[in-house]
């Protein structure tokens, strides 16, 4: 792998689960950021979309997302502030996880921040999901923290043990 691709931090969810995963104190020394995650949650569904939020801002009106989604039988396009990060939920095959990556270019710049997401879920059945999503945050500050959160699921929704998230910095030189 190119030496411009640096692991900044990594995490693994413990036995108690976690409602959210947050990377804080992100250095501004890279050109772009990349999040790679493998996630499973305890919701009673086959899969769930999560959002990715910056600098502690979870205000729905400050985010937009357009998601192209395949379900195993149909293809749709949809939008919501907390869409894009597909995760496996409890009705999918046991011990499987969704896999995704989020690319955030120019994260330290002074304009609104875009992010692209590609994500898949795993299930030993017809219903499994693949999605490509374009996200936008209206904030103009440099991104110093990143949170993966459902955003609308109360306090009972948790990432399950062994879910992982990695944050990489990408440099253009």
């Amino acid at each position: 792998m190119a030496n411009t691709y640096t692991l900044i931090a990594s995490s693994t969810v413990g036995s108690g689960g976690a409602a959210t995963i947050t990377f804080t104190s992100i250095p501004s020394t890279y050109t772009d950021l990349l999040v790679k995650a493998s996630l499973r949650n305890n919701r009673s569904a086959v899969a769930e979309d999560y959002g990715i939020f910056f600098n502690g801002d979870t205000t729905s009106g400050n985010y937009s997302a357009i998601e192209l989604l395949g379900s195993g039988s149909t293809a749709t396009s949809r939008s919501a502030y907390n869409y894009g990060l597909l995760t496996v939920s409890n009705n999918s095959t046991a011990n499987t996880f969704g896999n995704l990556e989020v690319y955030i270019p120019n994260y330290a710049g002074s304009s609104a921040k875009s992010a692209s997401v590609d994500a898949v879920t795993e299930n030993n059945a017809t219903e499994a999901y693949a999605g490509l999503t374009a996200r936008l945050w209206t904030g103009t500050a440099a991104i110093t923290s990143i949170t993966i959160d459902k955003g609308d699921s109360g306090v009972t929704n948790n990432f399950l043990q062994y879910s992982t998230a990695y944050l990489y910095g990408i440099s253009n030189s």
């Binding site: 931090a9 969810v13 689960g17 976690a18 804080t24 104190s25 609308d152 699921s153 944050l167």
Partner: protein, 71 residues
């Protein structure tokens, strides 16, 4: 108590922090708003389906026949 997982990128330290009362209240409010939004969407879809069924009934044709007419 629900927790959040925080990873400090400067130190690499990973900590599990309990959600505060305010955070829990906010999440519960967000969840209620989401449920209300979903219920409204479902009600709208049900209303549209009823209108469609009523029109087909008045016309005396099936949905398949309607699709054939419009294709």
């Amino acid at each position: 108590m629900p927790t959040k997982l925080i990873i400090n990128c400067e130190t690499g330290e990973q900590t599990e922090v309990e959600l505060t009362a305010e955070e829990i209240a906010q999440r519960e409010a967000d969840a209620k708003a989401y449920e209300a939004e979903q219920a409204a969407k479902e009600a709208e879809l049900a209303a549209q389906a009823k209108v469609k069924a009523d029109v087909l009934k008045r016309l005396g044709i099936t949905e398949q026949e309607a699709k054939a007419l419009l294709s």
